[in-house]
Symmetry: C2
Subunit: 391 residues, 2 copies
Amino acid sequence: MGCIFEVTASALDAGARAGNLLTMHGSVPTPAFMPVGTQGTVKSLTPEDLECAGTCVVLANTYHLYLRPGIDIIEHMGGLHRFMAWNGPILTDSGGFQVFSLAGLRRVSDEGVLFSSHIDGGDHFFTPESAIAYQERLGSDIAMVLDVCHAHDLDAAGAKKAMDLTHRWAARCLQAHQRSEQALFGIVQGGTNIEFRLESAHFLASQGFQGYAIGGLSVGEPKETTWNVLEATLPALPCDSPRYLMGVGAPDDIVRSVALGVDLFDSVLPTRVARHGAVYTTGGRLNLRNAQYERCEEPIDRECDCYTCRTFTTAYMHHLFRCEELLAYRLATIHNVRFMVRLMSGIRQAILGGRFADYQAEFLGRYKPPDEQARLEQKRKWSAARHAPGG
Amino acid sequence: MGCIFEVTASALDAGARAGNLLTMHGSVPTPAFMPVGTQGTVKSLTPEDLECAGTCVVLANTYHLYLRPGIDIIEHMGGLHRFMAWNGPILTDSGGFQVFSLAGLRRVSDEGVLFSSHIDGGDHFFTPESAIAYQERLGSDIAMVLDVCHAHDLDAAGAKKAMDLTHRWAARCLQAHQRSEQALFGIVQGGTNIEFRLESAHFLASQGFQGYAIGGLSVGEPKETTWNVLEATLPALPCDSPRYLMGVGAPDDIVRSVALGVDLFDSVLPTRVARHGAVYTTGGRLNLRNAQYERCEEPIDRECDCYTCRTFTTAYMHHLFRCEELLAYRLATIHNVRFMVRLMSGIRQAILGGRFADYQAEFLGRYKPPDEQARLEQKRKWSAARHAPGG
C-alpha cells in the first residue's frame, strides 16, 4: 500500500491543507519539508542531529547513490535505512533531475537516457524500469518516476516533447514498480506553459499514482512564473493525494506554496546556505560572516530552541565561520534544519487552527527575503557548479 | 591555588603514576590526554560531543586566539570557557611553540619575540609578561610559560642559548602571573642534550611551578632520542607535581611515556589523523579510505562504545570518506577521541590495580604502530604545511 495520505484540515479561507502521510517507516505530518541527504547523509548531520531537530523525513538521490557507493553495496548492507542509520521515512529522487543537470548528458531516447558520471566521466544508462528497480533495491519509502528535465526557457515544442516522453516513462515506471510497501509518485512537467502543465497533471492523475510532484519549477525562471504555473496546476491534481513541489525551500516560497495547496517540499537551500554562513530567522536570513556579529552575545535567534541557539553566541558562530572551522557548518545546519521544522510546524498548527491566512500575512510581513536579483544570480552560479553534489 | 595535584597510586614495578589534578573547572584523573582545540573548538566536535566521549580537559592555543578572534573579544564574551561553551578544565599553550613553528619568526631578543601572523603577515610582539596576561584574560585553568622552541638538530651552543633564555622568561612569567585561581606550568627545554635537560629541570623546579611540561620533544627527532631524553629528565622533576609531555599523542608513545612517569599529554594527532580517515583500534590504526572496507558490516571497532561505533558500519564510514562528506570528519574524530579517553582510563585502572607493567606489555604487543619511516615523513610534511592551524 506504499503510503496512506489523509487530509486532516484545510484552511477555511485559503487552499492550504494539513495532513498526515503514513509510510512503512513512520508518519509525516504535512505540510513537511524534507532535508536533502544527497549521498546518504544530510551534509554534516547525524541521524541523531536530524531527530533532535524534529526532522520526520529525508530525501536521498538515486543518481548519487547509484554512482557511489553503488546500489549493490547499499542493498548488501541491508538497504538505505540501515546503511545511513536513519529509521524514519526516506523519499528517493529518481535521478532524473541530476542526470539532466549534473551529469554530462549524452543521449535521450524513448528507451532511456545515456549520461556520463560527474565523478569520473564513465557512461551510464538509466531507463524508467532501472530507475524504479534501483529505488526498490535502496528500499526507500517513496520512489519517484524518471522524468525528463530541461531548462525553463526551452521553446514550446521542446517542452511538449519532453513532457510527452515524461508521460510515457511515468506509465512504464508504474508498470515496472513491484514493491507494494514503497509508494510511487508521478512528476508533472510541461515547463512554463500552463496548457502543458494541465495536460500533464490530468495524464498523471489518470494513471493513479500515490502522490504527485511538480517538477521543473524553481529552476531559474522568474518567481511570478513559478506562482502562475503552480496556481494553475495544483487544482488539477487529486485532492486526496500528497502534492510535492520539488526543489523549493526558501521559507517565504514555502508559505506561499502551502497557501496554494502543496504538502511536501525538498531543497538543498537551507542546508547549503547554512554552510555559507547564512542562517534563518523569522526576520529573514543573517550572514554570520558579517563583522557586525563579532561581539554579539545573543544566540542567532532568541526564539529558537535548537542546540546551536541554546549553547552558543552569535559571536562564537562568527568566529567559527571566520576561521573556517568544521564545527561552523554543522552548527549552522542544525539551526536551519530546526528553523524549517519549526516553520512547517507553525504552518500546520495555523491550518489546524483555521488561521492560516493570518499566519501567512504575519510571516510574510516579517520575513525579509534576499534580493531577487541576488537570488537569481546565486541560482545561476550554483547551477554552473555542476560538480558539487547538492545537500 | 591554581591547581592541586595528588598522586593516588604508583605502579609497583614501573614509574607510572595515577593521580588527580584539581582545577577551578573540575578534576582531571591522570594520566590524561588533552584533545587540542586550537581555535576554541576541537575540530568538528561540540562540547557535548567531548563530554559524550568522556573528555575531561581540552587544550587551546593562545597564539591562535590572540590572532582570531582576539583576546579582547574573548574577554568581552566572558572568557574562553563561556566563549566556547566548555565548562571543564582548559589548558592554554602560551604561544611559544606556534610563534616558532607556525608564524614567520622576525626577531628573538631578551625582551620577547617579534613574529608575523600566519594569517595576514602582520607584525606582533610577545613577551613573557604579555603571554601571561593574555592567558589570564582568556581565563584558562592552566597557563604555560612562554618558551623558546627550536629544531631538534640545532647545535649545542644554540640549544644552550635558547634554554637560558627560556629560563629567564620562565622566571619573568612567574613574576608576572597574578591570577591565583589559574595554575602556571614551567616548560623544560634543552634540546636533545641530556645535561641541558637536567639543568633545565632543576632550574624550573627551583622556581616552584605548579606543574612541569617537557617541551621540544617529538619535533622530528628519532624516537630513541625522545625516550632517552624523557627517561633522564623526568626523575629530576618534583614527584608531587604534574608532568606534562607536550605534543605526544600516539597511543603507543603515551603508554611508554606513562611508564616513565608522565601525567599529561596533548597532541593534534588523534583528531588530525581522524580527518584523514585514520582511526584507532587496539590493533593499530585503520585507514577508512581503504577499499577493503567497502562492504564491511562491522563497526570500526567492536570493542568501542562511541556514538560512531554504536551507530554506523565501517562500510558507511568508508563511503563518507570516499565522498568527502563533512560527517566523516566528525564521526572519525568522535571515535579517536573516545579511543584516547578509553586508553587513558585503561592505563589508569591498570596503575590503580598494580598491574601496569602487564597492561603495557599487552597493549604494546597488540598495537601495531605505523611504520617509523612513514611517521617521520608525515611529521615533516605537516611541519612544512605552516599555514594549517592544528587541532
